[in-house]
Symmetry: C2
Subunit: 304 residues, 2 copies
Amino acid sequence: MTPNAFDLDSWSDQWLGRVEQALSDWIHPQAPAGLGQAMRYAVLDGGKRLRPLLVWAARQAVAGESGDAALDEAALRAACAVELIHAYSLVHDDMPCMDNDVLRRGKPTVHVQFGQAQALLAGDALQALAFELLTPDASVIDDHVQARLCRLLASAAGHAGMAGGQAIDLASVGMRLNEDQLRHMHRLKTGALLEASVMMGAACGSPSAETLAALQGYGQAIGLAFQVVDDILDVTADSNVLGKTAGKDAANDKPTYVSLLGLAPAREYAQTLLDQALASLNKSSLTHTQALTAIAQRVVNRNT
Amino acid sequence: MTPNAFDLDSWSDQWLGRVEQALSDWIHPQAPAGLGQAMRYAVLDGGKRLRPLLVWAARQAVAGESGDAALDEAALRAACAVELIHAYSLVHDDMPCMDNDVLRRGKPTVHVQFGQAQALLAGDALQALAFELLTPDASVIDDHVQARLCRLLASAAGHAGMAGGQAIDLASVGMRLNEDQLRHMHRLKTGALLEASVMMGAACGSPSAETLAALQGYGQAIGLAFQVVDDILDVTADSNVLGKTAGKDAANDKPTYVSLLGLAPAREYAQTLLDQALASLNKSSLTHTQALTAIAQRVVNRNT
């Protein structure tokens, strides 16, 4: 099979079937007082699952087809954990005191459906559950893999990653950021967790330092490309296709790559980042990079 | 030194000095866009630090005076991590969509001081930071200790622990719970994290299964006793002494041990739980239990 013949859709379907089933198994509907229902609503049946795809693609890149069952289990847990962190951030981000959004993945947002207090708690509980999934009994996954995965995820989710990026985002409403500042905000807000997805997949294996560096270069470029394309789609797509409110960056007076660079240069920049991501893979000694390549192309060429 | 001569205050002062310094070092003021300031405000200069005390007392109970430097470091990180989880829960709990409280530890609550969006993010970032503190490089703490600590903390913080208890609390406003239901709510909401503090301290050592069970019995009894006394103080103390709004359970029509049992029987119940906690320690082979004993006595006999 040549790299061009790689079928991302069938590769994705197979893996995401396992991820969806695992998420459904691990988010207990019987969690107390409606909390489980709100958590399931926030996570199940929706989203592109880009982060779980990156975890598995990176796992395959470092391990090839010859999987080790315990490390495959680690990758499944890592994929679900990183998706839980992403989902919790959306729940909190949509709340009235943040972006005050009522539509997400084509459905009412969690606080609209369950109330603000339950949305707050569901987000909190999803973050805790992410770390719970990463730390099963040591007989399931080696403790050193558990510790590495927790380390990567905690760092990407916290003040020096996603939460820090959201604080900058909050403070930058109505401000004109320069390109360095905008890049810094997005590296934290969106990029850190996408990069962590790649690195967590890699942590379910034993890559060399050189390979890790190549994957990190890929993850950083894709993380930023994702946000540039998000900014473009916020202007060019409509809410029905997007499944969330389009045009909200401009409505909220938020700085974006489109407002900074203009639409055509933003598109060129996304393409440049795609080239960087693929170049980082190509200069490594990795051979099983078809999925990583196809995901990167989709990130940049998607229309939702 | 006989057990009665144990000086809890000087023991506490020494340990908490290290904890306060570590918290201040680890919550960076330079986290982006005011987030670090909100996180520091939420955590530093306040609180009884009961959870860090339990971590260290349990660590000493299993290790005696002969500390291992790496495991002492693990206990310090565990103490800080569990306090960060506690602090984040207070920040979110005080928000308008939850308890809507304006006073905490004698100061304006975080959302009053920094706004709701920053309070939400600060809470989220504190939870992530807790897991970051537990997962430094493997050269600092063995990976298997890191994994055990993350496992205990994630489970106590999430849907089957603190967050689940808060969901029950939210749903029980205006309801009459029976004693089993009230106990279940408090075991999750407050008890899980207090019990986890004890177990995390124990995890910084190699206790036998029998010793772990004794410590767990102690932790569970103390966890519940803490809440019974909290319910009593909400009725009997005034806000100035308490440093938070007194009388708010009745004002919010929340079920408590006082409303269920009456004041005098609630006091007796707290004493019974203290006896259970000490009995659990005494039937174990642990010898360095002075701090655990003194903390239990203070939990039940405190007036703030």
